[in-house]
Structure formats: structure tokens, C-alpha cells
Symmetry: C2
Subunit: 451 residues, 2 copies
């Protein structure tokens, strides 16, 4: 019989993830002990209401409302409460007491990450957060350790399951945004207030975390450009499909040269974008997550799996618990979070990207020339220009003559694919198009990513 040292694990929060973490710690304790060389003793679970109903039947004597006392005696503190306060206070208490902390709290990390990492470094404690991005998918450790000898150039992430589920329903089942959202709510993929998901706020938090880690640079949440999916229409989804593309809400972290200064910088941004059907991310269906990483030496990598779910996310939390426990057994102060590169975070205007612009124009001679001149005056180079009937009547590409639709004046629809240009130039050019006499409506502006 091997004699194990005991490691005291305190759990803060017993929601869908927390209750699964508690269950697995209790059920698989012996196996963890063998892996770690120490027993992981769940010493308590701090909750607001001891009597609240739980997903999992857990021993009542583990529950307490006194988080601070629980933290004080713990070697490892697992924070799964969510939100900024009181989570932030408890995490700081834990780190200051020398405990290692595991958290899945993306909001806390995206807004107070530097403060927490600083506190950890001060006492030689460690802050683990694999579960904060993309649920069960290992992405933090691969970025921090496996790619530590490489240079990450770009990350394209589908990191919000709710929006991917909605966009996938719109694409595969032809549902409207509203219907797809209703389905997502019905199936438990969307919360009663879906703003954090469909507004892109959740994805933006994850983009801040990934960009900070990948580029060794603090990327504050308020420097992450953000657009949600609320403006995405059935017509856009259909038109994308016909063009051999699909619309995905992407969290994009990119190392790039500032086109104004020529200096190296980074960009973090979230928006719905067109992506080619052959891109590996296009095959990510339902509520799944995937993170596509482009690195200088490794080339293209993709990490795919369940981005949410109580038991799935618990897997990532427990991986961190075992890692922290091993560190306690073998010693060593752990690895400090690195922000040595300290690159400038570029405004969205400096980002170089491509646009697909769909607009209605009056059907007169010289219209194409007018549109082309506006684009060229704006410094935007055109890769493709297609004249088509409006997508409501089927986006058949026609050549030459414009289509006539509705009862009003004869108009034609143009779909313009641009070459890469600065976002600011693209946006200004779209404004110039909107102000032009020959343009009657701009029906869709989408960025194109992944190439």
C-alpha cells in the first residue's frame, strides 16, 4: 500500500460544471491519486445557497457558504462561480495564501487577467484556465507549452457554441436567425438572455485570452473589436452557400504589421465572416468549437471538440487540477505568464482584411464604371464583381443586363469581392458607395477570412 500525501481541493461554485467536477473528484479519486502520487481530497464546496437544487447528488456536509474559510485551508482552489465579483476577490485570496487556482472564468481573465497573474507570480502560485476557452478542447496548454518554441501568426477560433449552432441551423436547415435562436434556447444551447453569445461578448473575452497568451502581450478586452451575429440574414447565409462559403462567428487573433507605422503589432477581433467551404473550420457543425492555429514552423493546426457542457468542461478543469497537484508533489514554482513581447494592439481600422459587399445599383449605362471608380478612389482593389438577381429570387449570376425586381425602378445587384485592404479604407469606401447616386442600397457587408 502506497502512502500518499493529501492535497486539499476547495471548490467554489456547484453549477453545471462545478457539480460534475465534484462528482468526478469523488468517484475517480483513487485513479487521480495514482496519476498524481497524492490524494486529492475535496474539502468543501462554497455556494450561495446550501439548499439549492444541484445537477448531481453530492454529500450535503461538503457544502458551505463560507468561501473564505474554505480557501484558507486549501492547496488547490477551483473557481467555477463565474462573473467578476466575488470571484475576483476569492481568487486573489487563494493566490495570496499560496494556493494554486484553477478557473474557467473567461470574463474574469479577460478583464483582470494581468492582476491575477501578477498575484500568482508574487507568491509562486499557479493560475490554470484551460476550461476558460473552448470547453473540453485542450488549447491553452498547447499554445503555452507545445507551441512555446514556435511563433503563432494567426488564430481563427469558433469559440462560441451557441452562435455556431445558430449559424449552422441557418445554413443547413434554412432557418431564420430568430427560429434558430429559438431552437438553441429550446435545446439548452442558449441562455434566457442570449446577448453575451449572439452579441459576440463571450467570444471577445476568449479572443482577449487567446491573443494575450499566443502573442506574449497583454490584450485588454476593450481592445478587442467586436460584432455579433444579430445582423446576419437568411439571404446572406444563402448567398454564402451559393458562393461556396459559409458564415461563421470567428474570434481572430493575428500578428500583423501595422500598415501605417510598419511596426509589428497584434489584432484581436470578433465578427461573423465568410469562410471557404473547404476550410477545416467550415466543417465545424452544431454547438462544437474549434480553434485553427497558424504557426511559423508548425504550419496549420486545428483543435476540435465540445466547447461547452458541464461534464465536458469538467474534463478541462480536472486536467488542470491534476497538473496543479503534480506540481505540488514534485515541487517547483511553476511557469509565470509571459507578456515579454508587449506588442502594440492595433485598432480594427489598421487590420488588413477582405470584404464581400452586396449592393443594389440603378440599372443605367455607366453604373459599373461609377462603382469601380469609387472603389479605386478608396484604395480598394476588386478581386471579383458579379452582377446577380437579388438573392430573394435566387442568386443566379447573370451577365450583361441588370435584373428588374419589385415595383420600383429597375435595379441590379452587384456582389463585389475585394482584395486585401486596410479595414479603415474598406469601411470608408463602403460609406462612399452608400452615398453614391447610383447605389440604391447596400444589403450586405461581410469580411472574408481563412485564406
Amino acid at each position: 500500500m502506497i502512502e500518499y500525501r493529501n492535497l486539499r481541493v476547495a471548490l467554489l461554485g456547484a453549477g453545471s460544471v462545478g457539480s460534475q467536477v465534484a462528482r468526478l473528484l469523488l468517484e475517480q479519486g483513487d485513479e487521480f491519486a495514482s496519476r498524481v502520487g497524492a490524494k486529492l481530497e475535496l474539502v468543501g464546496i462554497a455556494v450561495r445557497d446550501v439548499d439549492a437544487p444541484r445537477d448531481v447528488d453530492l454529500p450535503r456536509e461538503l457544502f458551505t457558504t463560507d468561501a473564505s474559510s474554505l480557501i484558507l485551508g486549501a492547496d488547490i482552489v477551483v473557481e467555477l462561480m463565474g462573473g467578476i465579483e466575488p470571484a475576483r476577490g476569492y481568487v486573489l485570496e487563494a493566490l495570496n495564501s499560496g494556493a494554486d487556482v484553477i478557473t474557467a472564468n473567461k470574463a474574469l481573465l479577460a478583464t483582470h487577467g494581468p492582476e491575477l497573474f501578477e498575484a500568482a507570480e508574487q507568491v509562486g502560485a499557479q493560475l490554470y484556465y484551460e476550461a476558460a476557452v473552448a470547453g473540453a478542447i485542450p488549447i491553452i496548454r498547447p499554445l503555452r507549452d507545445s507551441l512555446a518554441g514556435d511563433r503563432v501568426n494567426r488564430i481563427l477560433g469558433i469559440v462560441n457554441g451557441t452562435t455556431n449552432f445558430i449559424l449552422d441551423r441557418m445554413d443547413v436547415n434554412g432557418e431564420s436567425l430568430q427560429d434558430a435562436l429559438a431552437t438553441a434556447t429550446e435545446r439548452g444551447y442558449a441562455e434566457a438572455d442570449p446577448t453575451a453569445d449572439i452579441g459576440g461578448y463571450d467570444a471577445a473575452q476568449k479572443a482577449a485570452i487567446l491573443a494575450s497568451l499566443a502573442f506574449h502581450t497583454t490584450v485588454p478586452l476593450d481592445r478587442v473589436y467586436r460584432e455579433g451575429i444579430t445582423g446576419i440574414t437568411t439571404s446572406q447565409v444563402d448567398a454564402a452557400r451559393e458562393a461556396g462559403a459559409v458564415i461563421k462567428l470567428l474570434a481572430i487573433c493575428e500578428r500583423m504589421t501595422d500598415p501605417e507605422t510598419g511596426e509589428e503589432g497584434v489584432s484581436a477581433r470578433v465578427y461573423p465572416a465568410l469562410i471557404d467551404r473547404h476550410h477545416p473550420l467550415a466543417a465545424v457543425h452544431g454547438a462544437h468549437n474549434a480553434v485553427f492555429v497558424q504557426a511559423g514552423a508548425a504550419g496549420d493546426l486545428m483543435f476540435y471538440g465540445a466547447g461547452a457542457g458541464g461534464v465536458e468542461t469538467a474534463s478541462a478543469v480536472l486536467g488542470d487540477v491534476v497538473s496543479a497537484a503534480r506540481r505540488h508533489v514534485v515541487g517547483g514554482p511553476g511557469v509565470a505568464e509571459s507578456t515579454h513581447a508587449d506588442l502594440p494592439v492595433l485598432d480594427i481600422g489598421r487590420v488588413v482584411t477582405r470584404y464581400q459587399i452586396t449592393l443594389d445599383v440603378t440599372d443605367q449605362p455607366g453604373v459599373l464604371a461609377s462603382v469601380a471608380r469609387i472603389l479605386s478612389d478608396g484604395g480598394v482593389s476588386v478581386e471579383t464583381m458579379q452582377q446577380s438577381v437579388p438573392s430573394t429570387t435566387g442568386a443566379v449570376v447573370i451577365s450583361g443586363n441588370a435584373a428588374i425586381h419589385g415595383a420600383g425602378a429597375p435595379t441590379a445587384t452587384l456582389v463585389i469581392g475585394t482584395h486585401e485592404a486596410e479595414e479603415a479604407a474598406l469601411a470608408a469606401t463602403v460609406e462612399a458607395l452608400a452615398a453614391s447616386d447610383v447605389v440604391t442600397a447596400i444589403s450586405s457587408v461581410l469580411r472574408v477570412e481563412g485564406s
Copy 2:
């Protein structure tokens, strides 16, 4: 100016991976120093012939033929020579001297892993091998650390790029095995002697490494069942496509109950198998690698990327170098390889799987009943049975009457899909079918995986 400690890195081997590792260490030394908190000094490169031509232009004074002297003064030794000896001797020398060792040597790990891990543990040194499986794709660290709090149930890996390239060409371009192999050789994906790849030996080494790690159990290479792709025909590839499947060479590591004893065991095996077109592994084209992992809590995960290539594999090596260097800076004896579970490794006969059997039968009344009786006597339950014209004339499924082909006796082709059964029972049943009077030929036997 920060004062860094110097860490001495010795490189053994300067082939396609080694020369890229040396180049990146020299070029990106400052960036690594910031990440690690110490300078990584490449102190020398041991090679057999100092004057041999290299992929990369490297300072001549770094080269030496005296590996042992180089090892003696090193903090970190990177072994990229390949093969068993002298690599094994040098790795042991390095570990015994207390140096951490990074290796990409799958043959060495699959055959002498326990000896090397034991040597590392004795002196508190660490042995890293992320590059040994699936090139640039982080898979060792996710299995060892990220999933340390979960239970891996199954791994399906496309871990040999050469065979995936060949099978993909056969599927997508309709090439024969020979033509596809010739293309692979021409493009540098296959070696002059392709036996290690197409015979499944390379994949078997990787299966032994993955299974040992995932199941905390020593899985010796000689307990890995192995079949290569040399028997795969154009007809099989075509028939698979028509059935909505694709043939992939899979490395399979599975936790399973021994059907004879009822006890938990593990299986590691390599063979070409049918996999549904909708499975994420079916979308892995060309020479890419991917590892699909099923874990108790995390569910399905997939790791995708470049499985080979000098600079790509160098990324994985350097990730390990930086990890080792960080450990030198922060201290701590590292994590010992865990084989505590020590599960029995099951013979291929005990594996529970499914078969697709294609056979020609005489076209007489009662043939179907005879075939069904042989299957049922063998304890094999049939999921689907289709009578079809031979695939050489297009595998059209016909109902009722048998097709007549060739100049010989009238025969019909049957495609039988079985339910899950023990491999031994399936193999014995195939033998009984072959011995039967009504069966004129068995044209294909393939396992079905992924469901």
C-alpha cells in the same frame, strides 16, 4: 538589460528536422530567452560526417563527431538521429548525466521506452517526445496533462502521412496503390524503401507510444497488432466510396473489457479500416495527420495538422526544448511517466470490432441460407447483406437475381456488414466462409471503425 542564465543545448543529428531545429535556435534565440528566462545556447551538433551536405547553412564550428563529449556538458540534449543504436546509448548517457532529453525517435520509444523513462526517473531528469507522434500536432502533452483528469477510452489516429497520402490519392484521384505510391515517392512523401510506412510499422510504433501514455500502461511494440495497406485495391476503395465510407490506415488504442475474462484491458492495433465519410477523420486529406480522442468526460476531441516535415516537426521539438528549459529555470524534478494502471494488453483476437466481407458465391438456390448459417454458427450477427454485381463493373446493388460475370460459372457478389463481434470469431467465420462450397472467392475483408 536582463541577465540570463545560459542553458547548454546539444543536438544529436542534423537531418531534415535537426537542421531546422538548429536554425530556429540560432535565429530565434532572443525570443526563446524572453519566454524561458534563460539563454538557450546551441553548444554543438553531433553528426557522423561533419562535411555531409545539409538542408540549412549552419556554422561549421558547431559540428562534431564526438557525441559523448557534447552530451557531457549539456543541460538539454536533443536526439534527432533516429534508429535504435547509437541513439539509445546517447540518450541513456544524457539522462544519466542529469540532462533533460528531447527526442522524436518513435522507434526507440516504442521499443525501449520503459528503460529510458526509468533512467530519467532515477536522476530526476525529464524525457520529452512530442515530436515522436504526429509531427507538429500537439498530442503527447494534451494526453499527458490536459486529459490527466479524464479517462481516455479510445484513440483513432491517422498518424502516418505517407499512407494517408496514398489512400487519399486512390480515393480522390482514382489512382492504383502503385501509382499513388509512385506519386508519393516523387513528391518526397515516401522513402526509397516504403516498407515502414505502407507496412504499418511506423504507425504501430506510434500506437504503442499513444496507448502507453493514454492508458498509463506499458504497451510493448510487439503487442501492437499490425496490418499495412499493401493489400488495398482500387475496387475496395471504390466500393467504400459508394457505401459512403473511406479507407484510412488507423492506429487504434482502445480501453475495453476482455470478452473472455470480463476484465478491463487495452488494445493497440493498426490496420486499414472503413470509416464513415461524415466522421471527422474522413476529411483528413493528403499527408496530413489527425488524432481523434474519445474521453469519458471530454467527449470527442480531434487534433489535426502536419504529421511530418522538417520545420513542422522542429516546432514540436522546440516546444519541448522550451518546456525543458523552463523547468531548468524554475526547478522541480518534473513528472515521471505513469504506468500505474498496468492494464493487460489484449490480443487482437479479443478485440471487438465489425467486419465488411465481400465474397463471390455460386448463383444457386439456397446460397444465401448457407452463408447466413455459416455466419450464425460462427456467432457473427449480420447487420446488412447486399447482393451486387462485382465492383469491377460498378457496384450497383441489385435485388433478387444474381449477376453473371466473366466466362465461368454464374456467380453473385455479396457484401456483408456484421455487427460487433470478437475478432477471433470474425476471423474464424471468414475461414469457414472460404472453405464453404457455395463461396467461390472472398474478395475483401475490412474492419469498420469509428462508430
